[in-house]
Symmetry: C2
Subunit: 252 residues, 2 copies
Amino acid sequence: MNTPALCAIPVPDPGEIRPGDSLSDKLLAALSAQDLRLEAGDIFVLKHKIVSKAEGRLVRLDDVQPSAEAAAWAEQFHLAPRLVELALRESRRIVRRRDGILITETAHGLVCANSGVDLSNVDGGDSAVLLPLDPDASARALHDQLRQRLHLEIPVIITDSFGRPWREGLTEVAIGVCGLAPLLDYRGQSDAYGYVLHASAEAVADELACMAGLVCGKLNRTPACIIRGYRYRADNGSAAQLVRPAARDLFR
Amino acid sequence: MNTPALCAIPVPDPGEIRPGDSLSDKLLAALSAQDLRLEAGDIFVLKHKIVSKAEGRLVRLDDVQPSAEAAAWAEQFHLAPRLVELALRESRRIVRRRDGILITETAHGLVCANSGVDLSNVDGGDSAVLLPLDPDASARALHDQLRQRLHLEIPVIITDSFGRPWREGLTEVAIGVCGLAPLLDYRGQSDAYGYVLHASAEAVADELACMAGLVCGKLNRTPACIIRGYRYRADNGSAAQLVRPAARDLFR
């Protein structure tokens, strides 16, 4: 083909990730086992779960004592009381709680179901995975490790699947970013017709997360991918820039 | 590379699209001029603007008489009164109106800024583009034309850029779909650890729209792309399935 294509290349299964594991070791080994390698210009996108596992953000449900509030609400909607308890502990604000759905704001400012606490793809339901404490720092750490190992500046995006108001289904969002501008601001630039754009910026880190979500499935062991062919803007941006400040948020 | 990649291939500039133009003629001509062709398994993704133009969903601003309400609100926030008037006409409900931002629900049930009415990439600011009257029908029409021309079943997705609560920046969403299931429901299936998934479905049509958004820029004339290598589920689904029914919406 003549035109440059934008591609997502799945990273092969790195095997189970355990607390203390080096993600760069595991993922680079999985790549070279398949004769794949990162190249200059690539972006590395990971689902947060392997990051949380490497960082030990796991809680055995047997060790969680639900509060009376968590237990009562869980019973009413046939939910797991220990999961509700963890979701409440990981939240700094309850955004909505209705019909068995708990939407919270996490310490990171992320608005999502159950504070991002999840039982899938861990150990069959015995343990819960929490979001990384500081996903931007996690992205930066991996970015730095990749630079040391490969002598390349590879932007890193860490993702999770969030629901949205008004629309059905989950999509991936960027919860940790290092090495690229997460927002591209077109305001003030002219389109091909000379019209000066007024609309807001494009959340390219979330769009890259969505693209990665199409190859990093929920039911296969593909927790990461390489995105090749996207001309990103190198920047010391972070996923925190994607969180709208309360003062500018019409939906609090 | 050994592993199959997922790729987005930009469709070259089809030239200006005018009311009554055949989109399939224009886009297929642009593809063959560059020795590109659609293949079995491809998905065709278009920004809605060329669909609206082909369907004549254009309004000359000089022909719009703003109501007193639109004029007063526009003046308060230094907005274009005719654009506000069109946004109100195209809405069936005002979701939020504050600080010069107008979030509405359109007749399609889409919640977005200014009912999707937009002045960019038209003619330098003299005319506004409205959303297609029925974007699912528009997608179906193009799908049928591609079948007739190519004897291939090519799913079609029509997109627009929407903002989101709580997060900065716009991302692409699917407003018209034909030929694939827009939602993949993992509920009841087991992950690699034997845990049965409870979370909601994945909005793959929106993730495909986001991926397309990365190659279909705002400032270049790339209104469409081919997505190759995504194993979609063929289905007579529609983008209407992505609109959450009011009864299940926690954010009305």
